[in-house]
């Protein structure tokens, strides 16, 4: 008799506890894993060789972008914040905005090398650099390119850049605009898939100027 009573009370007690637990069950938001846990798992997945350990610390814009699965899902406030932050992160070449060397720009556009370090077979050299632009863009006619970004075919021609107008204020303004996009795409397209090449130092200001020249110059193969 007492045993039954005891077991009965125990059963009720357990049911009572479990329903209480269910009430205290974390909401969808609380059930998410903590940033610290995510960070620990991420770091555990990399070789600890300092020669290869890059900046894994997210900057503020990366943190904002990581909260949304796409640019379209971003609220206006977040969009504004990233644009504001990234407009401060543009550095121009020491001699300012002036047409560079499109032949050098072409080499950088076509090079997929630079920054891909690994302790097995395929590592890049520390001095390699390039934008790997064909991964995401179509650029010269007939050359296979990706479609993650917009097509850049006949880019300068489409913007009406000619030998006659390329050194007018309008022509140079267009050059500056393209420079800014290649240097730091997020200043105009926050959280774009395009890397912030100049900001991260993957490309120097002079490199970026040469690439902008390659895209816009009337003599460049892009526009012929």
């Amino acid at each position: 008799m007492r045993k039954t009573l005891f077991l009965g009370l125990l059963a009720i007690g357990l049911v009572g506890i479990s329903t209480a637990q269910q009430k205290k069950q974390p909401t969808k938001k609380e059930a998410r894993v903590k940033p610290e846990e995510v960070r620990q798992v991420l770091l555990s997945g990399f070789e600890q060789d300092p020669k290869f350990l890059w900046k894994i610390e997210q900057d503020e814009s990366q943190r904002i972008c990581s909260q949304y699965p796409s640019m379209e899902a971003m609220p206006p406030k977040a969009v504004q914040k990233v644009i504001e932050l990234e407009n401060k992160n543009i550095v121009y070449p020491q001699w300012g905005i002036a047409w560079g060397d499109w032949k050098e720009g072409k080499k950088l556009v076509e090079s997929a090398r630079g920054g891909r370090f690994a302790s097995y077979g395929f590592s890049d050299k520390f001095t390699d650099k390039g934008g790997n632009c064909y991964a995401c863009h179509l650029i010269e006619k007939g050359v296979p390119g990706g479609t993650m970004g917009p097509s850049l075919t006949a880019y300068g021609k489409r913007y009406g850049i000619t030998k006659e107008n390329m050194n007018t204020p309008e022509g140079l303004e267009r050059l500056k605009m393209v420079y800014k996009i290649v240097y730091n795409a997020w200043h105009a397209y926050p959280c774009s898939s395009m890397p912030r090449f100049g900001y991260h130092g993957a490309l120097s200001p002079e490199d970026v100027m040469n690439i902008a020249t390659y895209l816009l110059h009337p003599e460049s193969p892009v526009n012929k």
């Binding site: 894994i56 990581s66 699965p69 997929a112 395929f122 991964a135």
Partner: protein, 277 residues
Amino acid sequence: MRKILLTSAVFGLACAGFLGYQTVKAQDQELSPEEEIRLVQEFNRMMAEGINPGEIWAEMGKEAFKKYNLDKCDFGLGPGKVEGALAQLPRYFPDAKRVMDLETRIGWCLQQYAGMTPEQVKKFATQCWGKSQCMGEYDAIVMYVSMASNGQKFSVNLNDPQVKRMYEIGKQIYYARIGPWDFNCATCHAGQKEARIRATKLWSADRPGEAGQAVSIFPKYLVRWSQPMTMHYRYAECIRQMRWPTFEPHSDLAVAISAFLYGTANGTEIKVPGIGR
């Protein structure tokens, strides 16, 4: 007969691949656009003929499985049971106190039953990384165990809180912008819009069924390197292309990504090995 056919297919491909390499520098893994197109055409041709050179690794794997005492290894369905093993991984293993995917579990079992140290396991697992035409025992073991689940559908248990946790961590990493090129897995493998990287179509975790189609064929035989690529090698190469630091196989990062990808793939039929450029 089939073995002879497969061996000659591998040999023929290796020759073709080698000739292709005359136009590509040894360390330079970038193929010219013409080369890429040629390789795509070659693998379509092989697929049409019903030849998949990747299968030869499964035969090797069966031998290596016994050699390294993996018949003692419990993949979740009992020691040595490989049929259906891949379909229910990743899962939590109380003996290791970790959620593990297939390769991580193989690595752990090699330590337990083949007397390997963690360093030896890593060397064993990465023996074919950065190479081509490499016939590695590890890749063979992964191929053998994976193929034993052919025809079954992925059924990762996302109701297990440990597995769910790794799934959530993997998902956050998938969408987190990191590193000096601001990349993440989602840069290429997310979104609704269909896109290509150079000449290669990209699958998206956000479009239903595509993640499943992508992972259900791993290990995947790659024509450009004449050898199969396991999931962890695929993670390593993606991570290298993202300009992230060098990837550690069998890490929690691997398990997290696997939990997310295989969890998303639930319901997809397993068809190993796939074949690609």
